[in-house]
Assembly symmetry: C2
């Protein structure tokens, strides 16, 4: 891992490159994904069938063939080792409890003139969750996507996950049972996004599509945005750690490595005003890295996408973290809550030495589906609000029309919208009469 | 206006067409917009200059030439007729008051084991507002886009609006002054979206872009989504009115016509279980339409995009409104609040005879930037939340690690993420020691 030093004049140039880390070049991918989506839209199941044969290497004979059996899910759940079952339930309960607190309420406000204004919150009717799969299974991703939808009150939740060679990981099946998902399909990649966005024969289109995925999935989600809503466009996972001399180098090393093991493209960034800590973390990483089962992936990530940033002082570390706007930000300083008010942009903020990032991945409670690549400047973690929407409520009274009708008509006329003005003035006339 | 009758067997087929009204074929537009965006991205001001010469027919010599002068805005404001100034202020104050109520708070929740979880709300740093322009001016659109950003606490708000022949409508200038916008550019269409999404020389990129526009603007917003956030992808304006026999046909006619005068593509839909009302509204519209200053536009909209739907009963009217998921929904029934709980999808719901839709366009308070074409199923009205984002807060305690560290490690191992497990287990070890 390279050390960038803010004290040097090359820093700005080097740092600018890191700020560009989130750029996803969808150029080539985009045209491939566009054709996959169009095939699904125009041909329906036939296209799905073809894509599954090509990418997942099995023959699906009918839509029913694609459905994940509930019996199979129940069995997988029953077969779970006791401690894993307990852990999954603990995660479920904590994620559920946290998301309950996010739930927005319908409200109205009454004015003295008899007018009522407000905001009505309704769940989306049908949500499509994409869960990456294959050999690795991410039951935690299912929990993190399904629970906010459940809390929101979404009635129809469907799940798509790829099943290479028509095989599914039992952990995902168990998690489907735990979340009481009754409609799930063995479809992956851009085809899955197409299936959920457009609907295919018996499968109705969704209102919102959420969930992580590779660049094909991210690109497909972006392309169908507008036909459905989506949570965000996300890229590779990343962490930044603001640490001072009080930080435990072993913890820092493991937290950086947990990010690195996700993906060759994952970024792990340590920001510290203490060179001794940086050196110690470096030594630890060099020592631990070769012992990791996912060494090949982690090594690539550490070598090409990870960095130490040596700063002048804590304040500068904070500025750099804000400029990076990372997905996961750990604050390993003597008084982490003193830093919190100054953090402007981060998907999730982990405070103090026990708030290891993996805790947030599994069972702290907040969502682990987070904005990446600097998009924490404008995207939020997945939440209940991604599965609800607002409608404004306007009940204007006769008295309010008497007070404001004239002004409203003036504004309409100044925009040359005569019928708008008349619609209001006719009401005003009837009250005056 | 055609009458569709739910009692007939052709209804489903005809209605299916109306459900498709929101489909925007961006096919051809998309490649044009893509090139405009790429030119802005690669060439910066040079491309802007060219597009302005081509579309707005004037020569901009420098970026400064594009800036709208604050002195000019102040003067336009000072020159406003007294009653219009009063009306603009009334609108401003009411919109501000309503959006204040939307503001979300940062919160934390403390657990007995010492853990703190929460959600930190921060404003976006830089918002770009697109305001359509040209001959017609929409000062109301500026208010509706700027005020939620102001309430959210956005520090840098920039505005783009086209200035054909380098001329701007004084009402927009006055509104810029009223909203205290100090950075505004005479750039329109896809170029404006490119300018705000990528930044050009001295103009920094925005974090979020909001505001209405034609299909080029909508398409450009969709294409830059992910690089920045956007409010929604919106199409032509529309209204549906659920009315029973208690409704005043004149009010219904004017409200339908106010929608029709916006745009040839606007839709006005009356849903009623009372054929007499439908006939009366039809007669009124035929009488009023030719007297409208925007007759040419309104006639096209009424002829091609508007419809009466005759239903069996109020319940069916509600079902149809939910299926349509329109931008503006008026409820002109004897007891409109009895209907409210059953409305699932609508951008804004107007209840009762005095809640004429134009009231919501100008000064009721709720936002007039609303989801169209059925997207109220999943998009919300523009609001303060479009200018803020959340960060999760996670402060796990030693006691919490003792209680849950083991379970977390089990979950990490089941996903084959060994470093994740170790990161937590090392903490657990240190507590046990």
């Amino acid at each position: 891992m390279k050390i960038l030093d803010t004290h040097t004049c090359e820093f700005d140039k080097e740092f600018a490159k890191i700020l560009e880390r989130g750029k996803m070049d969808m150029g080539e991918v985009s045209s491939i994904v566009q054709s996959i989506l169009e095939e699904i839209k125009n041909e329906g199941f036939g296209a799905l069938q073809r894509h599954i044969a090509r990418f997942d290497k099995w023959e699906a004979k009918s839509l029913q063939d694609l459905q994940i059996s509930q019996t199979q899910c129940a069995k997988a759940y029953d077969d779970l080792p006791k401690d894993l079952k307990k852990a999954l339930h603990l995660a479920y309960d904590r994620i559920y409890a946290f998301h309950q607190k996010q739930k927005q309420q319908t409200w109205i406000d009454c004015e003295e003139n008899g007018t009522i204004l407000g905001s009505k919150i309704t769940p989306m009717e049908r949500a499509g969750l994409y869960i990456p799969g294959g050999k690795a299974a991410y039951p935690s991703s299912l929990l993190m996507n399904a629970i906010p939808a459940i809390v929101a009150g979404v009635k129809e939740i469907i799940v798509c996950s790829p099943a290479p060679h028509n095989e599914l990981n039992p952990l995902l099946l168990a998690a489907l049972h735990l979340c009481n998902i009754t409609e799930a399909y063995k479809v992956g990649g851009a085809s899955a996004i197409g299936l959920m966005a457009y609907g295919v024969e018996g499968v109705k289109k969704a209102d919102v599509i959420t969930g992580p995925g590779n660049i094909f999935v991210a690109c497909a989600k972006k392309l169908v945005f507008g036909e459905v809503n989506i949570d965000m466009v996300a890229g590779p996972s990343e962490i930044a750690i603001i640490a001072d001399k009080s930080a435990n180098p072993q913890y820092v090393a493991y937290d950086l490595l947990s990010q690195a093991e996700h993906d060759e493209m994952a970024s792990s960034i340590l920001i510290s005003d203490d060179m001794e800590l940086i050196k110690n973390v470096q030594t630890k990483i060099e020592k631990i890295l070769p012992t990791m089962p996912r060494f090949a992936i982690s090594e690539q990530s550490i070598k090409n996408r990870s960095i130490f940033i040596y700063t002048r002082h804590l304040q500068e570390s904070i500025e750099i973290a804000n400029a990076l706007a990372v997905e996961h930000l750990e604050i390993l300083t003597q008084a982490p809550f003193d830093v919190l008010p100054y953090i402007k942009h981060a998907g999730a903020i982990f405070l103090g030495e026990y708030s290891s990032e993996p805790i947030g991945d599994y069972l702290a409670g907040p969502n682990h589906t987070l904005p990446t690549g600097g998009s924490a400047r404008f995207f939020s973690p997945l939440g209940v609000e991604h599965f609800t929407k607002r409608s404004s409520i306007i009940s204007f009274s006769a008295q309010a029309i008497r007070q404001m009708g004239e002004s409203c008509a003036i504004l309409a006329e100044c925009e040359s919208l005569h019928a708008h003005a008349q619609a209001v003035l006719k009401r005003l006339d009837s009250i005056k009469e």
